[in-house]
């Protein structure tokens, strides 16, 4: 009886915590389906605060005429480019750190690990000055570059690569594969979960990027999602219906990506370092 009661109360507690996390998201979703003038119409907590009987998609159609539409496409482009180029760079680096034995390997790896311990925001300002000197302001290259070399992704991939049996590599080499062939035909196909995990990390880094695009200048052509969302909140007036609709759009896209790949992500984190 006692363990049952315990598990029941734990379930209830879990449910309550879950609802507490979910309610603000529901509030955002509900208000995105309401005209902006009614956002604060239900300040006193009631069921109407979280549900709308007459939902309208007006805010979403209004989004199309704002910068958010273009910004979302730009964000997708920048994130996708970061994932593709970033995975190529990080996987190569991880391969170099896992497959070869050489003096100083530990040191190089240490530097890589150290690099992901430094918060990006701390180096963003001096880095932006360098980018300015290199004429990379207001360019997609400037937006993509900082996301490519990700220490955490290299770390994850390297740990995963270490688990790949040396016999496989030897067999490949005997069959005439060069080192690139070993990387391409043995390491990469075996590491799909780790690659997906690292790719997700690179994706999220870019998707949430806010300070960096502001620092290197986002003109109308290169504006990214989070900046456009923040711009919706004008100086003297904010249409919260529109802001919430923008927030929903910018949340749904990574949510779909994460939901689609979450299985692999858990697998990659769980298996790295254990094999």
């Amino acid at each position: 009886m006692k363990p049952r009661l315990q598990s029941l109360s734990l379930s209830v507690l879990g449910g309550v915590v879950g609802i507490l996390f979910f309610l603000p998201l529901l509030w955002v979703l509900t208000n995105s389906l309401r005209p902006g003038s009614e956002t604060f119409a239900h300040l006193t907590l009631s069921w109407r605060t979280f549900f709308e009987l007459k939902p309208t998609l007006h805010n979403y159609s209004a989004l199309l005429s704002s910068d958010v539409g273009r910004a979302t496409l730009n964000s997708i482009l920048v994130s996708a480019a970061t994932v593709v180029i970033g995975l190529a760079v990080c996987a190569s680096a991880a391969f170099g750190l896992a497959a070869f034995e050489y003096r100083g390997r530990g040191l190089v790896f240490g530097i890589v690990v150290l690099s992901f311990l430094v918060p990006f925001d701390a180096i963003a300002i001096p880095l932006s000055t360098m980018f300015r000197d290199w004429q990379l302001t207001n360019t997609f290259t400037g937006l993509v570059l900082p996301g490519i070399g990700n220490g955490m992704a290299i770390f994850l991939l390297r740990q995963f690569f270490l688990g790949i049996p040396a016999e496989l590599v030897e067999a490949g080499r005997l069959d005439g594969l060069g080192w690139f062939g070993v990387f391409r035909w043995i390491y990469l196909p075996l590491s799909r979960p780790a690659l997906i995990g690292a790719g997700l990390m690179l994706f999220l880094f870019q998707w949430q990027s806010y300070v960096w695009p502001l620092l290197i200048g986002t003109d109308a052509k290169h504006i990214l999602g989070p900046v456009a969302l923040s711009n919706l909140q004008g100086q003297n007036f904010a249409d919260y219906g529109l802001v919430f609709a923008g927030a929903v759009v910018l949340t749904v896209i990574p949510l779909m990506v994460i939901a689609g790949f979450q299985r692999y992500f858990v697998q990659s984190v769980a298996s790295s370092g254990l094999k």
């Binding site: 000197d133 290199w134 502001l214 200048g217 109308a220 923040s230 711009n231 004008g234 919260y240």
Partner: protein, 433 residues
Amino acid sequence: MKRLLPAAVVAVAALVAGCDGGSSDSGAPAATDNGPQTGTVTFTGTDNAETYQPVIKAFEAENPGIKVAYTQIPFDQFNATMQQRLSAKDSGIDVYTVDEPRVSQLAAKGFLTDLSDLDDQVKTKFSVAAYKTNHFRDKLWSLPMWNSTQFLFYNKTALAKAKVTPPTADPQQRWTWEQVETAGRKAMQSGGTKYGLFMEQPEAYYQLQPLAESLGGGSGIEGDDALTPAVETDGWKKAMQWYGATFASGLSPRGIGGFQTGPVFANGQVAFFVGGPWDLKIFGSSKIDWGVAPLPYFEGGKPVTPTGSWSLGINPASKQQGMARRFLEFATLDPTGNLATSSTTTIIPANLEAQKQYTPKMDAFSGAKTAGAAAITAYESEHTAVSRPVSVGYIQFEEVMGKAFADIRNGTNPDTRLQEATRQLTDAWRSIK
């Protein structure tokens, strides 16, 4: 692998050399060269792009060969982002919007091009307050674009329900805060509103300065160098005690931030609302019936209203000083251009000629609801407007006071909190003095 080391050293050396070369290039002064006569001027501000479309269109029509590209930076990050980009001598910004109380600090840091040769024109085309605010150490650094004032908006339906005669638009019949408080409570009891009074920016110095000034408390800054805090005067203490009490008693709501407050009034949940000229159009779409009256003052005090808004300045690192100057002059000195800056957002143009054409239209911004707004605006600008103080320490002042207002709003003792603010300001200004 050993071969890698020299290669890495070469790469690092090339990188460092590249950085040095680059920064010295971008640091080259453009003062002697006004840059090309045609091309694209970049204009950076914090308003929505639509705000500046009319002025940009009008300018481009008058200046063939020059295009203006507007970049918006979110309001909350505007000052910090600009500070970083201007200090990095970012030539990607030609013209930018300057918050008037920040002119001194921006000028002191070398982030504004000296415009003193336009001094005579500015003197005749703008109000004395606007002329002074854009000066620092006897030089002109930016040109005023907009002006502002504050109104008392009231919920007509709620006041009628509570049997309260609403205030009139006549500045001579201006209500006191005490009257607003009493009427607000009646509206809460029997007028059907949830709150009695709400400020649009409840934690902003711009909005709260008039409270203290009305009681003779001063701006909060004194001394020849304008770097001595004076926020513990009787006026400041009394004003903040009253302000804190409006939240403690439930007359005003806590927990809703600046500019999130308008929708609360538009939904009919507040009896009185203090807001700017932009609200004259924003509230037009509200379902409630409302009216507009002059900003109240304290009983026994004097009427004081806030003023000032955004100016335009030129980035000294811009390599297109000539074209930047042409756009800046068009948007401020030329009445047509200045008027175009305020055709989308309801904000008062700073150019006196433009203002003369603009103000009468304010009465009809939202039909009969905005009747009297023009006369109030004209009266306030002539009799009651007080600018924010001109000081190189204004940025710190605004930040420190903003936090103090937030704490007072949330129940901290006003006297001790103002004392704390004095200490913080003294510390912050020590390094500037």
